[in-house]
């Protein structure tokens, strides 16, 4: 910065309140307020209106009738079960692959840096691009992954995405795969922070590899693992784009999760009131699911 600019900056600071924190906080607060809090409150308000674009031009308060419609629809409960399976499945795939990955990458070799870079690819690639790549991999006529799955008897002639029994889990695999890099990097950072003295002390006490993993590594990465599970779980719970691009919730409703139902309620059924009620219910459900996970994983031993 040039001297003149710095002087001008100094004068600006002196004349307009110096280090007054309000100057620095207000823009962020206004943006957060406009982009997050206001729509959230508006959504909660809409959920008490049962507004339908087909019948009324403006929302009118109507109590809990939108909630009643959503909760009495059996499709909601089916989709809820599917969404929980989807969320748990996604996080399980992430943990099962990311934990060994992180442990491997924690061993310093000549290729560690390159491999760490490469595994970030799924995380930094947009969902739309990934989805089309996977559509090709799963294609019933030319998809290499489909050919493999067919050879081992997992699926029939057609893409798993067109199969009522295979569609959901074949997208869960993609959803989990996408989250692996994020979890791996977070775990790797934690692993690097574990002092090697702990393992040395453990081995003096006669602990084998498995024992030191269970008594040293696992307890120390558990808070990270818990926090990451919450982040990735919430992200999976609100998923929409991946499923929408791959199957639009089909075949039938076999891959319809709550995010898809929310979209269909608003856009196909043109019912913002019910869509808002569904969105509010999803928010409450996410809160209910998060608290026990955080409780369980933040306990220290």
């Amino acid at each position: 910065m040039s001297l003149a600019l710095r002087l001008a900056g100094g004068r600006f600071r002196r004349e307009f309140g110096g280090t007054n924190p309000w100057y620095y906080v207000t823009p962020a607060m206004v943006i957060v307020g406009l982009l997050t809090i206001a729509p959230l409150l508006y959504g909660i308000y809409l959920s008490f209106t049962n507004w339908s674009l087909n019948s009324s031009a403006a929302p009118q308060l109507e109590g809990v009738s939108a909630y009643r419609v959503v909760l009495s629809d059996s499709a909601f409960w089916d989709n809820l079960v599917r969404t929980i399976a989807w969320t748990v499945g996604t996080v399980v795939v992430e943990i099962v692959i990311a934990v060994p990955f992180a442990l491997l990458l924690n061993i310093r070799t000549s290729v560690t840096g390159v491999v760490t870079g490469f595994i970030m690819i799924p995380w930094i690639t947009p969902f739309v691009v990934l989805s089309y790549a996977w559509l090709f991999l799963y294609d019933g006529q030319s998809g290499p992954l489909h050919a493999f799955m067919q050879a081992i008897g997992l699926v029939g002639d057609s893409t798993p995405l067109a199969s009522p029994t295979a569609a959901l889990w074949s997208i869960i695999l993609i959803s989990g795969w996408k989250g692996i890099p994020f979890l791996t990097i977070a775990l790797l950072a934690t692993l690097k922070s574990i002092p090697t003295e702990l393992y040395e002390a453990g081995s003096i006490d006669g602990a084998g590899r498995w024992k030191s993993f269970r008594s040293i590594t696992l307890p120390l990465v558990r808070p990270t693992l818990g926090a990451m599970c919450v982040v990735l779980g919430v992200q999976a719970f609100y998923s929409f784009d991946l499923v929408w691009i791959l199957t639009q919730g089909g075949p039938g409703s076999s891959s319809t999760i709550l995010g898809i139902q929310l979209f269909q309620t608003f856009f196909t059924q043109a019912s913002p009131g019910q869509a808002a009620a569904l969105g509010t219910l999803m928010l409450l459900l996410a809160l209910v699911l998060i608290v026990p996970i955080l409780r369980a994983t933040s306990r220290r031993t």
């Binding site: 207000t26 339908s52 674009l53 031009a57 002639d157 639009q248 075949p251 856009f267």
Partner: protein, 436 residues
């Protein structure tokens, strides 16, 4: 200075933000000083030919009406329903937009559209013909709700059978005798199976193209969407036979193995890339195939939609221009609608550039629409019907076609449900949508 610091800070920043907001929204409204009016127009065709055609239409319209500016925004067909729903909910609708013929009744019923009847006399006077007489009966039926006309027909579309004569010859079929019935098309598909991996790219997915194809089957089997009481009329032997026959194509491998999850583009690409023997599609694919694969194009012929036991029922597609009730420049909007949709305005130029069928009979009876292949499509159009034929348009059609018919086809084709249970489910869903 005696102001408290936090308040000064907050007020300064709010004032700055307000200035920014004011700047960003300044362009969209008409200037207060002049009488210049801006008509916002949502155009759904994103291809280069359409954009060029509408741009030149706008230029000549603005030259004739110096006090009106037309602001065209491209909203792709695939997003238009979401955009309209969002705009309805947030009050940001355009003045004029295109619209799918099947949903005109829906937006007319909820009061979002302006009836165009009061403008018709003026339009007829300027054209020297009765404009309503110049529109197709099918369009008039789709665009009329409670006796009022809500759409000015722009273009019409119907589908025909495209087939590849090279595959026909290899399979021992006569390329000069295309299938004329659904039974024929199945026989041809069985023969084609030995020469091409996908005999007929028949869609079974949750996409519009599925209902747009399948409707020709169920109507020709004598099924109708609504019964005489206006409830679901599909729980009949006719519909079940149609559903059973159509989804049977998937079960016997006569369509793509992935048919239950393919988009309209996927299906078209299969055909263009020489991986499918037959395709049911509209007139715009004619040029698309010619441009994308000239080698294959030499072997492509077009035949009428096959007939079923009750005759031949083509798909009736079309899109009018509509005026939204929220418009503050209705007179200017009406002028623009008339300019785009009238033979003495830009209609002839637009439909020729884009390669579609005009929504006016007086234009369709002149070249190039009397030349192949457009004359074939025009002929098919005279036997094209709405999904709900013989009933009139339903305000719930948009939801019924997407949320129920396509899903039923998909569920039977993938083996998730039997024909009987899918039909029961379908009628439960349709009646539930109708009762809302």
């Amino acid at each position: 200075m005696k102001y408290s610091r936090p308040i000064t800070a907050v007020v300064t920043i709010l004032a700055l933000s307000a200035t920014l907001v004011a700047c960003s929204s300044g362009g969209s409204n008409s200037g207060a000083g002049s009488n210049k009016q801006t008509v916002t127009f949502w155009q759904f065709n994103g291809d280069q030919a359409s954009i060029t055609a509408y741009k030149s239409a706008i230029a000549s319209f603005e030259a004739k009406n110096p006090d009106i500016t037309v602001n065209m925004q491209i909203v792709p067909w695939s997003d238009q329903q979401q955009k309209i729903t969002t705009a309805l909910a947030s009050g940001s609708l355009p003045d004029v937009s295109m619209m799918g013929n099947d949903v005109v009744a829906q937006y007319a019923a909820n009061g979002s559209l302006v009836p165009l009847d009061s403008y018709l006399d003026g339009w007829s006077a300027s054209e020297g013909i009765d404009v309503k007489q110049d529109m197709y009966a099918g369009d008039l039926s789709y665009y009329t709700y409670n006796g009022k006309l809500y759409g000015a027909p722009l273009a019409d579309e119907t589908r025909m059978l495209y087939y590849n004569t090279e595959f026909f010859q290899k399979a021992g079929l006569d390329p000069n005798k295309p299938p004329t019935t659904w039974a024929d098309i199945e026989k041809a598909a069985v023969a084609l199976k030995s020469v091409v991996s996908v005999p007929w790219s028949a869609p079974m997915s949750k996409q519009y193209v599925t209902v747009q194809t399948f409707m020709s089957v169920y109507l020709s089997y004598g099924a109708s969407l609504f019964d005489s009481n206006g409830k679901c009329g599909l729980n009949t032997k006719e519909f079940k036979d149609a559903l059973s026959w159509y989804t049977g194509l998937a079960k016997s491998g006569l369509t793509s193995p992935d048919a239950a999850n393919l988009t309209a583009n996927d299906i078209i690409n299969q055909f263009i890339n020489g991986k499918a023997g037959m395709l049911i599609e509209g007139p715009s694919q004619y040029n698309a195939i010619k441009n994308a694969n000239p080698e294959l194009f030499k072997n492509i012929r077009i035949a009428p939609i096959p007939a079923g036991p009750k005759g031949q029922f083509g798909f009736l597609g079309g899109w009018p221009l509509v005026m939204w009730n929220s418009s503050k420049v209705k007179e200017a909007a009406a002028k623009w609608i008339h300019f785009v949709t009238s033979p003495n305005g830009a209609l002839s130029d637009i439909v020729q550039k884009v390669g579609i069928l005009p929504g006016r009979k007086s234009l369709a009876s002149k070249p190039p629409w009397t030349d192949a292949p457009y004359n074939q499509f025009a002929d098919q159009l005279s036997r094209a019907y709405a999904y709900q034929y013989p009933a009139g348009p339903s305000p719930k059609m948009g939801e019924i076609e997407t949320a129920s018919i396509q899903t039923a086809v998909q569920e039977v084709a993938t083996g998730a449900l039997s024909v009987d249970s899918a039909t029961n489910q379908l009628c439960t869903d349709i009646n539930q949508i109708l009762s809302k």
